[in-house]
């Protein structure tokens, strides 16, 4: 028994599914953010896992792009938390279902 590439992908899939469920089903806005981070992590793992299945000269992209993903995630968390602070200041609530400013 050796470590298979498939296992990594299955793990990524499971974590992605959990992240998605957290992001969509929980109503607390912090959990929404955390679910998104979890899903992003799963995607990174999938990238690296696939990169390891490619020959030498092709495996660079799969190992560089996660770095950028992490940087983008940092920006996203930064802006997202600022938005949470702003909304919380206006609404005194962290329930995502109460944020209905755009309701038509």
């Amino acid at each position: 028994m050796e470590l298979q590439a498939m296992y990594v992908q299955i793990l990524a899939l499971v974590i992605f599914a959990i992240g998605l469920i957290v992001a969509v089903s929980r109503r607390n806005v912090f959990f929404v953010l955390m679910g998104v981070e979890l899903a992003l992590n799963a995607v990174n793992l999938s990238f690296v896992g696939f990169a390891k299945t490619l020959p030498a000269d092709l495996s660079a992209a799969g190992q560089i792009v996660p770095l950028f993903t992490i940087a983008v995630a940092a920006a996203e968390a930064c802006v997202g938390l600022a938005m949470v602070i702003m909304i919380f200041r206006n609404r005194e609530s962290v329930d995502a279902d109460t944020f209905t400013n755009l309701k038509g």
Binding site: L20, V24, T100, K103, G104
Partner: protein
């Protein structure tokens, strides 16, 4: 000093323009303008430096000319243009008189514009004009020439409308600018047509000539000549705009609204001849398309004749000169049309001297009469302003082709070439000779009305008549000497062919393509007939205007009645064309545009209805929407799996 860089020549006027423009801008807010002495010195210095550079370069010019590429301008696939300069026999002659006369006229303007509030602004424009004109003449590619071409058009606009507090001046400036744009579109289209012909570098003159020689040598005449003809026609339209030929000539008489030195420099000596320059520059191309050359000859002929007759009817001294300029340009185009490019450039050269002298003389007359331009109110100025009168009379003798004066040699040469140009030659010659007679008549009328007889203005204005200051007289005298002696650069019957030889490397090969039979008439006969025409015209003018009482001027100086019909014929034609275009525009505005609007409204309405319908389906909960989209993705995956799309 053999390796004086070519870009020095346009650099000096550019610096002058920037410096003077800065002075004009800085002083624009002040009550008192900048010191006129300082500004005047600067304004003469920079053109003079350019002139000195040209002279230095001229003496050291090798036979084939100097080429220098400054930098790359446009470099894209299929199309490559460098900013480069070409200094050869043709551009040498053009540059010599452009910068030389430019310097003289800058000096003259110091006197003429004395006390004007826009003193520095005026000279900034003049320097900008010289820069553009030098770029036009000196460039080695059509595109850079076009840059200069547009630049001189802009300066022409700025200077015609220089006294912009008068609405008529602004209208004249607009007219000049817009009519010129029509011609410029021809120029642009010509360049585009050439680009379609092939060769990424084709806008370069050397490359173009090589290309045409190569094509003609290979015998692909049937394919290329139609395209070349279209290109030639487009360029010719550009030339008619800039050089005031039929049909785009109406702007030049109106352009006399500008200050007189401007008329002398731009609208007589230099800018309007750039069309002739372009024809000579593209001579290799034009000799391959005889059809276009015929058109050029006919247009030149009609323009020369029409403008000469229109010149008879004018009362405004500057308008007479304007029509005479158009007429002389017609001569140059006739010469170019029969592939006598060297003769046409020679006429450009001599014309620059005597027409500038005439304009400067007219300016001095206007100056001494405190702005009066109507010839019916002048007269007897010979005694009051003798120097001006002598200059004007010398220039007059030059323009009518009196033997020994500059115009005699050049006009005679053109007529001779016309005669030898083939079966239509004698007709062209006769028409040219007739035009020469008319020229002598209207110029004689100008001289007689202005300088002879007795003064017809009011008594008190007679007191103030004075000779122009020295800084105005000096350029006039120099130009008068030019008007007398410039012709001896190519005195054919005396065997002096300096001018022809210096132009031969540029246009000689082209002219050899259309070889005309040598005339069986000796040169003496041509000279005799030309002299006769001049004397006949002078005689008519003296007989008709010398003794007759001139009716007192009343109303405006514009011609009336049938004379007006003749004078403004092409304005009417333009009016008709504009009316037709307006009608088409009206139709487009009221029919086509409405259709488009209806289509817009239809599309918008449909989109609005659809959007409203779609909006009513919206679930107003973000999380539920995301959940739905996840379910949608799941459904898609199921579909793909079931249909076996991926695996």
């Amino acid at each position: 000093m053999t390796n004086l860089p070519l870009w020095f020549i346009p650099l000096f006027p550019l610096i002058g323009c920037i410096v003077l423009g800065a002075i004009a801008l800085i002083s624009s807010g002040e009550k008192k303008g900048p010191s006129e002495g300082f500004v005047g010195a600067l304004s003469v210095l920079f053109p003079a430096l350019a002139f000195v550079s040209v002279v230095l370069l001229s003496f050291n010019m090798p036979e084939g000319g100097i080429r220098s590429t400054l930098c790359n301008w446009i470099d894209i696939p299929m199309f490559k243009v460098d900013i480069g300069f070409l200094f050869d026999g043709l551009s040498r002659i053009m540059l010599l008189f452009v910068t030389g006369i430019g310097t003289l006229i800058a000096l003259y303007s110091n006197g003429y514009m004395h006390g004007d509030r826009g003193f520095a602004r005026f000279f900034a424009y003049i320097n900008l004009f010289l820069f553009s004109m030098i770029v036009l003449v000196l460039s080695d590619s059509l595109l850079l020439t076009f840059l200069g071409w547009e630049g001189v058009g802009l300066c022409s606009y700025l200077l015609i409308g220089f006294w912009n507090h008068d609405i008529n001046n602004c209208k004249a400036a607009n007219k000049a600018f817009i009519v010129n744009r029509v011609g410029d579109i021809g120029f642009l289209l010509g360049m585009l047509v050439l680009c379609t012909l092939g060769g990424s570098n084709i806008l370069n003159y050397d490359a173009l000539n090589a290309f045409i020689n190569m094509i003609m040598g290979a015998g692909n005449v049937e394919i290329v000549v139609p395209i070349l003809s279209i290109a030639g026609l487009c360029f010719f339209i550009g030339c008619t705009g800039k050089s005031a030929q039929i049909p785009l000539l109406t702007w030049l008489p109106d352009a006399m609204a500008g200050p007189t030195p401007v008329s002398a420099l731009i609208h007589a000596a230099t800018m309007v001849t750039s069309g002739v320059y372009l024809l000579a520059r593209l001579s290799t191309m034009f000799v391959q398309i005889p059809l276009i050359l015929d058109i050029i000859t006919w247009v030149g002929l009609l323009t020369a004749f029409w403008a000469a007759v229109a010149g008879l009817f004018q009362n405004d001294i500057k308008k007479v000169l304007a029509y005479s300029t158009i007429s002389q340009l017609g001569y140059m185009f006739m010469a170019a049309g029969v592939a006598a490019f060297d003769a046409s450039i020679f006429h450009v050269f001599t014309h620059a001297f005597f027409k500038a002298a005439l304009f400067l003389g007219a300016g001095a007359v206007i100056h001494s009469l405190a702005g009066e331009q109507d010839m019916r109110k002048m007269g007897g100025l010979l005694k009051k302003t003798p120097v001006t009168a002598c200059v004007m009379i010398f220039a007059f003798l030059a323009i009518i082709g009196f033997p020994g004066f500059a115009g005699f040699w050049s006009k005679d040469l053109i007529l001779e070439r016309l005669y030898m140009s083939g079966p239509m030659g004698p007709f062209f010659y006769a028409a040219g000779l007739l035009t020469a007679v008319i020229t002598a008549v209207y110029m004689g009328r100008l001289i007689v009305l202005t300088f002879f007889g007795s003064y017809r203005g009011s008594k008190e204005s007679e007191e103030h008549i004075h000779e122009a200051p020295a800084c105005m007289l000096f350029p006039m005298v120099v130009l008068a000497f030019g008007a007398i002696f410039a012709g001896y650069f190519w005195a054919d019957s005396m065997g002096i062919k300096f001018f022809e030889e210096s132009l031969a490397p540029v246009v000689g090969a082209a002219q050899a393509v259309l070889h005309h039979s040598e005339a069986h008439v000796s040169a003496g006969v041509f000279a005799g007939l030309g002299t006769l025409a001049a004397l006949l015209g002078m005689g008519i003018a003296w007989a008709k205007y010398g003794k007759a009482r001139i009716p007192a001027a009343k109303g405006s100086s514009a011609p009336q009645g049938k004379m007006a019909t003749w004078t403004f014929f092409w304005d009417y034609v333009h009016g008709v064309v504009i009316t037709v275009v307006n009608a088409i525009a009206w139709v487009v505005d009221n029919c086509v545009d409405k259709l488009v609007q209806f289509a817009q409204w239809l599309v918008g309405g449909i989109a609005e209805i659809l959007g409203d319908g779609a909006a009513s389906f919206q679930v107003r909960k973000v999380r539920l929407q995301i959940a739905l989209s996840i379910a949608g993705v799941a459904a898609l995956v199921i579909v793909v799996l079931l249909t076996g799309g991926l695996i």
